[in-house]
Subunit: 288 residues, 2 copies
């Protein structure tokens, strides 16, 4: 069932639209995205709709979070298709600012989070999480949401946002949502569109190796090194795969773990490139 | 005329108090301070009262903005006196969190502003403005003010906050308020209490030298070096004075100026130590 959707390109027009709703006591849910929407995003909207009266989805490919040799300019964009998916999913307001609207002058302010940004993608993509924290902070100030919805697929991003919100007492509840996968197990990502048929086929090893890791942990494996090695061996068997990292860490503190302990919440996180496409996947679980 | 004042030590109790007022559409004004209130703070409250329905004043000596050899532990504190001054001035809500309430765990998030933080106090007090921007950002998230009031005495701090608010689209209006002076011209500061009688007497040279600079500019002096030299000579004539900086800069961009130009807004800013006490003063004016 389609519904009408309001689209705002300007910060002020979005504020003007939301202000009376907030005054009426409506609960505002927010799903920040970089567009090229897929079922993962739709699941965030769906969760937001359950909990809020108004769902705002932003589409903004944020230049601050891309490194100089990354895919900012070729990041996939299709606003018309996004609008249809957003309306279908139940978004009330689409916020689609331009780079000029978000950064009319060079932005001099940076929000940085220490520690949780250091391992994993923070190591491979210097400055990336500063860009993420800064834009999410700005978007929160613009939208003023009661709750914001983030996918666990970007587990480190979620940990960074949670840390920022806690540290800066931002008046928003962060709601983590589970990874949504294709039928064959590939984690949904806007970047999957970059994959050739052969790369996509080999990329199934990511979810498969995490599934094996889960099974090993469930039957009592407690050595992080053994878990890690099992995953690395499976991925390295795929000729197109180039591992960036495979790590077992406490979550959300993102500290390295050697021996899994009962009650611990862990994240088995991986980043692997297939050709020019770098994919993330992870498994977050509590050790029983 | 005294009025009842509500005091909150906890973030949640402050939020609970303000939330219904916000829902009713009351305009919330905010005056962040480090306490040991004086007539300068009272002038901020007075301005806030003119423009808002509810005035929140926070007292928090923020450890993040003090360097290791600075005066955090001996910074003057007198809550009982502050409560009286705040009530007298018309504060509705006093927010007095402890360090543990503000930073229950080590804070990992930093808000940094580039460029405007580099000269002046940013050079003498590395990390100071990161501490200021971070705590002000957190206080804004806690209080959720419509407007916040800052004294021009801390001209660089004001420039930093304005830059942060613009860059991060914080939904708050920053209201700069003029310096309040003692009868003899000394700019009000909580740190004036540190001064010996002799130091306090010699410290009058700060406002006097700025007054001379204003007169020189008003009769057509356009050389920043000449203005600066005149001030330096006056201050150096005082045996207890140790100059940290005397600078003539565009305001609020805080870029060095060589020749004053018509229409330009400038700040003549100085920091001078008398004994262990470092005082600030400045003159902000538009060149006619």
């Amino acid at each position: 069932m389609n519904q009408t959707i309001v689209q705002c390109d300007a910060i002020q027009s979005l504020r003007d639209y939301l202000q009376p709703l907030r005054r009426e006591g409506k609960r505002i849910g927010f799903v920040p995205t970089m567009g090229y929407l897929h079922a993962g995003h739709a699941s965030l909207v769906s969760r937001a709709k359950q909990e809020c009266d108004v769902v705002v989805l932003s589409i903004f490919v944020n230049p601050l979070q891309f490194g100089p040799n990354e895919d900012f300019s070729r990041y996939p964009r299709d606003l018309q298709r996004d609008k249809e998916i957003a309306a279908q999913a139940g978004v009330s307001v689409l916020f689609t600012p331009s780079v000029e609207e978000m950064y009319p002058q060079k932005i001099l302010t940076t929000v940085s989070v220490a520690q949780v940004t250091e391992p994993l993608c923070g190591r491979s993509r210097p400055g990336h999480f500063d860009g993420v924290a800064t834009v999410v902070s700005k978007l929160f100030h613009i939208v003023g949401p009661d709750a914001a919805y983030f996918g666990e697929k970007d587990a480190q991003q979620l940990a960074v946002i949670e840390q920022m919100v806690t540290d800066l007492s931002m008046p928003v509840t962060i709601v983590p949502c589970p990874i949504v996968r294709e039928q064959d197990g590939l984690a949904m990502s806007s970047r999957n569109v970059y994959l050739s048929a052969e790369e996509r086929d080999q990329a199934l090893v990511l979810s498969q190796s995490l599934q094996k890791a889960r099974e090993a942990i469930e039957i009592g494996e407690t050595s992080a090194a053994t878990i890690r090695d099992g995953i690395v061996r499976m991925i390295e068997a795929k000729p197109l795969a180039v591992i960036d990292y495979v790590e077992v860490m406490e979550y959300p503190a993102l500290k390295t773990v050697e021996t899994l302990e009962s009650g611990q919440r862990i994240c088995v996180a991986l980043a692997v490139a297939f050709g020019k496409t770098r994919l993330l996947d992870n498994l977050i679980m509590r050790i029983s």
